[in-house]
Amino acid sequence: MAVMGIAEALREGIREEMRRDPTVFCIGEDIGVPGGWGGAFTVTLGLSEEFGPERIIDTPISESGFAGIAVGAAMTGMRPIADVQYGDFLFCMMDQLVNQAAKMTYMAGGAVKVPLVMRAPVGSTRRGAQHAQTLEVFFTHVPGLKVVAPSTAYDAKGLLKAAVRDDNPVLMFEHKLLYGSKGNRAEKGAVSPIGEVPEEDYIVPIGKGAIRRPGKDVTIVGKLLTVYRALGAADQLAEQGIDAEVIDPRTLVPLDKELILESVRKTHRFVVVEEDNRTHGWGAEIAAMVAEEAFWYLDAPPVRVSAPDIPPPFAPGLEELYVPSVDRVVAAVKGLF
């Protein structure tokens, strides 16, 4: 089994899906330029050599436009994998994603499908307010979209393949610090979600979460980078006699609610860790779900560890305060005992 990072795993997933199904193609900015980067984070590097510019389509800098093109292609038998260089640019294509892609099946009374994959890097990485947001929640709020967020190489490939085969628009959020610590696009401070990735065909089903660390005293839910913050916290907590269970939902919509609820029913304590802004956030939704559906199993209030309600700051010292740290997770958990 090959050991690789998320960027490579995604590339292999795309390659296998494009080989398997001629209707699969990639579209985005700077994804297939010969001698170029293979997208902002190397995911499509080398694919144009195999599949040519007809299936690895470089677009003008027209985010809304190529999003609409992906929607139209998906409505007529193709399975586009679209790519934005930074998740922040999804706001440029909000209408195409929210009004068009997400609603087309519904508006047609079920007569049209939109099998579209839109990949978007997120996360604070010394880029400031417009290239470092964590914005999953804008899309998890939209009926008609599915949203996945892989935090390991294995999941990245498996979820990518599942997303390509899904008949609905799927947004895949990838964290810039998780692409991999090797290669020329490695980010400073990247942790390594590198792992074994099978070469044979497999999928990670959309809607299935994973227990990253079993424990009995508290349930910590994180996604993308905060899965690793939660795991770091769990290590520290273990030294203090607190046995934390860490859950990575992997898919944000539809959420594997039962996995989380079952854990809370066992541990009686719940913390959600998110890099998103706190107010009206993703963590708020998860905490509300736990409060509503597992209230009578709780020994302490459900708690969020979030980014503050500010845009991502640039200064590294401030950015460190913005992204939830292991220490903040540890403190939040200890507050429940």
Binding site: P60, S62, G72, M75, Q100, M107, A108, G109
Partner: protein, 325 residues
């Protein structure tokens, strides 16, 4: 230049336009009776545009309509029954009661749920064209839009990409002079929307949008280009919205003489006169028969809608995600 139409085929176009006209008039009446529970953007006055364009298309070609889509759908042979049922919010409607007036369509006729965000259908049509090209078919995609859409970013992005990739798309700009209540002259420095086509490296054509034959001829040329892999065309059809922007619009912002002038050039009057005159020389009874058969077809559509059930409450959360063919 396409061959001139014979009497039978022109009469068929006349009948299609008449169907749209009478359908819209009946919608208006049903709205006033409270039997259509939404506002309506009526296509009255613009019938020649959709009819002419769609007469140049095959059944497997694609159409994306706008927030004023009844005419586009009828012109592309979507059944009046399921459109009327949709307008009357019935489970048998073309969108099962999930869409309403602004989203009518029927993919079996190549008509997608209409896109009611101005300009947003233009990139989608480019994607449809890209798909046809990648799948190796010679299907074409038509994006109907008003002149207002030509000031949306999506329109420019779409035309550019359609042009650079030579996509089989026809951008039909139905220039009815008003974006809602705002006159063309207030928001364009160019004389014609089609003048902008050169900026994207595609042909731009302006035709009399009330002359169904002129529209058809221009559309045939654009379709031929598209099918031949020569890329998109911007086709501007000059027409006029004879009613308000929506049901609540009294059009006080429009001069009476302007309205009178356009009504004197009503597409039905124009084509009707042409059918009675040389060389077609049809008797008035031919037009009367068309009127009667259209009335019967609309009566049937209303009866169908009336007899149909409202969506059941357990349909509420369905079709948010794909449920299969």
């Amino acid at each position: 230049m396409a061959e001139p139409l014979g009497a039978d085929r022109l009469l068929a176009l006349y009948r299609k336009m008449l169907l749209i006209r009478r359908f819209e008039e009946r919608c208006n009446a049903l709205f006033l009776q409270g039997r259509i529970p939404s506002t309506l953007h009526l296509y009255i006055g613009q019938e020649a545009s959709a009819t002419g364009v769609c007469s140049a298309l095959r059944q497997d070609d694609y159409v994306l309509g706008t927030h004023r889509p009844h005419g586009h759908a009828l012109a592309k042979d979507v059944s009046p029954r399921i459109i009327m049922a949709e307008l009357m919010a019935k489970a048998t409607g073309c969108c099962r009661g999930k869409g309403g007036s602004m989203h009518v369509g029927d993919v079996r006729q190549g008509v997608f749920p209409a896109v009611a965000i101005v300009g947003a259908g233009c990139p989608i049509a480019a994607g449809v064209g890209l798909s046809a090209k990648m799948r190796g078919t010679d299907q074409v995609a038509v994006a109907f839009h008003g002149e207002g859409a030509a000031n949306e970013g999506d329109w420019h992005e779409a035309l550019n990409m359609a042009a650079i990739w030579k996509l089989p798309v026809i951008y039909v700009c139905e220039n009815n002079l008003y974006g809602a209540s705002t006159h063309f002259d207030k928001v364009f420095r160019v004389a014609h929307v089609s003048d902008r086509a050169s900026a994207y490296g595609m042909p731009g054509v302006t035709v009399d949008g009330n002359d169904v034959e002129a529209v058809r001829d221009a559309a045939l040329e654009a379709v031929a280009r598209a099918r031949a892999g020569e890329g998109p065309t911007l086709l501007e059809t000059l027409t006029y919205r004879q009613c308000g922007h929506s049901r609540s619009d009294a059009c006080d912002y429009r001069p009476d003489d302007e309205e009178a002038e356009w009504k004197s050039r009503d597409p039905l009057t124009l084509t009707g006169a042409r059918l009675l005159a040389e060389p077609h020389s049809l008797p008035q009874s031919a037009l009367d028969e068309a009127e009667a058969s259209v009335a019967a077809e609309i009566d049937d559509a209303i009866a169908f809608a009336d007899a149909s059930p409202a969506p059941s409450p357990d349909e509420l959360e369905r079709y948010v995600y794909w449920e299969g063919d």
